[in-house]
């Protein structure tokens, strides 16, 4: 069997990102407890939210005032190295109605990063992705087999994560309507995706901070508390199903729009393919396309995390390759 060189490099990159994103704020000096910058007068403002609400568990400013297209979460202890993930910045600024002028540099930066690496962020940088890989490693030590997702579920989740993405953005916009504002509902639904995302519960304890495990203030917060636990359960099931959360993740869904047409691509020379099925078997997120597609030279699936496992495992020389702007970086 060929050595898994790509995976070795990837593990190192994942570890580096894990430390950088989760512990960067402990390593690099940065303004702690700085006042939350007032963005613009308007409805509603972060300062209107009580600090002990779930959303402000760590409540400290970050090292670099920028956002990443992966789960560089807002709730990392000490504020984290980066400010937050792409979904956080989108949701909160939709709610805040931040002027596009202020937001544009951040959005442009996010777009460029997404275009450059697409879901390579998932395979190589996301701490939650790395944690799921680590959970799989622990499972393997026990000799337990991975559970595979039935194809019907897989198809369902592929739709579900886009629903999650657009629904949370829509809710972020809707709660600014006076109708909801007046009833106070907006408070509980603010940053709704973050309230579900396992990162919010998983990252703070890693930095010694207690996340807000429960919020039974009203019906909505109670429901969201339970939904959040459910998502945590899905994440925990990642012990058995490789990268199960990644099949729900809305941040991954957002990145997946860049997977086809982005700069990093997975390419296949169908003539060299023997249909051995190796690429499909080794894929952590059970991508079928690399194996099945025999006509298109570019076989990047929207689910693909560009981990390169299929490329390094394919026994046919030159059959699969990972390319940057059309130039091959690694080949089978």
């Amino acid at each position: 069997m060929k050595p898994r060189k790509v995976t070795l490099v990837r593990r190192l990159v994942q570890l580096a990102f894990f430390i950088l994103l989760l512990y960067g704020a402990f390593i690099f000096p940065h303004p702690l407890e700085a006042p939350i910058p007032s963005i613009e007068p308007g409805t509603p403002r972060t300062s209107q939210y009580p600090r002990d609400r779930i959303l402000w568990v760590s409540g400290k400013e970050c090292v670099i005032d920028m956002y990443l297209p992966v789960l560089a979460c807002r709730f990392i202890a000490q504020g984290g190295t980066f400010k937050s993930c792409s979904l956080h910045v989108l949701s909160e600024n939709i709610t805040w109605k931040t002027s596009i002028k202020l937001l544009l540099p951040h959005l442009a930066f996010l777009a460029v990063l997404s275009f450059l690496f697409a879901r390579m962020w998932c395979g190589w940088a996301c701490p939650l992705g790395a944690m799921q890989d680590a959970m799989g490693w622990i499972r393997r030590q026990f000799g337990a087999g991975p559970w595979h997702l039935a194809q019907g579920w897989d198809r369902f989740f592929r739709v579900l994560r886009h629903v999650l993405l657009w629904l949370s953005l829509a809710i972020s916009a809707l709660i600014t309507l006076p109708l909801f504002g007046r009833t106070g509902v907006n408070d509980a639904l603010f940053l709704i995706y973050c309230q579900l995302c396992p990162s919010r519960l998983v990252y703070p304890p890693l930095g010694g901070v207690n996340p807000c495990w429960t919020d039974f203030t009203n019906g909505i917060t109670t429901t969201l508390t339970f939904l959040g636990w459910f998502c945590l359960g899905v994440f925990a099931l990642g012990f058995m199903v490789p990268r199960l959360w990644c099949r729900f993740c809305a941040v991954g869904a957002l990145l997946s729009y860049f997977n086809r047409g982005g700069l990093v691509t997975l390419e296949k020379q169908a003539g060299k393919c023997t249909s051995c099925g190796t690429c499909r078997r080794v894929c952590p997120v059970e991508v079928q396309r690399v194996y099945r597609d025999r006509t298109n030279p570019i076989v990047t699936d929207t689910q693909c995390t560009l981990c390169g496992r299929c490329v390094e495992s394919c026994p046919e020389e030159g059959c699969l390759s990972m390319c940057l702007a059309g130039r091959s970086i690694v080949e089978s």
Binding site: M1, R140, G143, G145, A270, C276, G277, R281, R294, P315
Partner: protein, 381 residues
């Protein structure tokens, strides 16, 4: 002793049969590559492919099976009747129901050994095909465990997969020699190797294949000649005369797409993880998915494979071998011819039986084909 002699010995002498007969491990006969050898090894038995190429045995086989079935089946049946055949003994026979003859053969052969039949999907990429095939492989695993009284364990299967993969890697090393121009391993030699692997111990075969590869690294190159790919119905020892003939006329068989040749030694088994269910899945899928056997309803993979061989081995032409009364290979000849014509690669279609009577005619047609190739493009060198 040149490294090749080892493989000739395996094929020509009764040494291996003796070894199998007196060995402590049960011998499991298989009738084609669909039966995963790794599984048999993991269960503590020895896999032996029993497909035969002997003409006189084919005549003897006619006593038990109809005359009008393919010579491979007849010869295999005939060989099994002979006391002390090339396999020494058979404790179980595994027959995948590939074609009509192989569907009916099991009952005929029940007298020789217990028979286990495997059902094959008609379309390997069809709905649920992989799952059904995996079930078949699981059933086989159970049957093997019962036979040997030994459980297929994680370590056992991993060891068997490693053994098979080492063999495939060694063969790939040899294939690299055939990509050279002129090739330093002939088509006949490659077929001898593949045929020796039918019965030989996997580890020992691998060792000698490695020795052959390193011996050839420094060997002088033969005279250049037209480069041909041979595809089609299996050429099984001793019926290798088609390749012998081609190479005696100065051409090189640089690649083959035959289940008795490179196909069985090419694809490694790569599981997602080294645990039993994942390895079993990999073993099952590797036996099914890359196989280009014409028994499936679609031939796309076979066309791709032949096209790739023509490219990768810089072939000038293709020889398509039909066996008399094998409808499956005959069916696909037209599609292969058309696909090759689209790349302007000429193809010669030949039909043979195991009888030596048609050698003369074969000679004439191959010679004409080679002359045509030479007229098309002068061979460089």
């Amino acid at each position: 002793m040149p490294a090749l002699d080892y493989f000739r010995e395996v094929l020509e002498t009764a040494q291996r049969a003796e070894e199998l007969k007196t060995g402590s491990r049960p011998v499991v006969g298989t009738m084609c590559n669909f039966v995963p050898e790794a599984l048999i090894i993991a269960a503590g038995a020895v896999p032996v492919r029993i497909c035969a190429g002997d003409h006189s045995a084919a005549l003897e086989g006619e006593a038990l099976v109809p005359r009008d079935i393919c010579p491979v089946c007849k010869s295999t049946v005939g060989t099994l009747q002979r006391p002390g055949g090339p396999h020494g003994r058979l404790d179980l026979l595994v027959v995948p129901a590939v074609c009509d003859a192989k569907k009916k053969l099991p009952q005929v052969l029940e007298g020789q050994a217990p028979v286990h039949v495997m059902e094959l999907p008609v379309d390997k990429q069809g709905q649920g095909a992989e799952r059904r095939w995996l079930d078949q492989v699981r059933l086989l695993a159970e049957r093997l465990e019962k036979l040997t009284g030994q459980r297929i364990t994680r370590q056992g299967l991993r060891g068997a997969i490693d053994l098979i993969n080492a063999r495939q890697n060694a063969y790939r090393e040899l294939l690299a020699l055939r990509q050279e121009n002129p090739p330093r391993l002939s088509g006949l030699e490659a077929l001898l190797l593949a045929n020796a692997s039918f019965t030989d111990d996997v580890a020992r075969w691998t060792h000698h294949a490695r020795a052959l590869a390193s011996e050839r690294q420094s060997a002088p190159a033969p005279a250049p000649g037209p480069r041909l790919v041979v595809t089609g119905a299996p050429l099984i020892y001793p019926n290798l005369r088609l390749v012998e003939l081609i190479e005696s006329l100065g051409a090189h068989v640089v690649a083959d797409e035959m289940c008795s040749g490179s196909e069985r030694l090419y694809v490694p088994i790569i599981p997602q993880e080294w645990n039993l269910p994942e390895m079993l899945l990999a073993v099952a899928e590797t036996a099914l998915l890359p196989t280009t056997c014409p028994c499936f309803s679609r031939h796309d993979d076979r066309l791709t494979r032949i096209g790739e061989l023509v490219d990768a081995y810089s072939a000038d032409g293709v020889v398509y071998h039909n066996l008399r009364l094998c409808a499956l290979y005959q069916f696909e000849a037209t599609a292969v011819r058309d696909a090759l014509a689209a790349r302007s690669v000429p193809m010669l279609e030949l039909q043979t039986d195991y009888t030596p009577e048609d050698t003369e005619q074969m000679h004439t047609r191959v010679q004409a084909f080679l002359e045509m190739l030479e007229a098309r493009a002068p061979v460089p060198g």
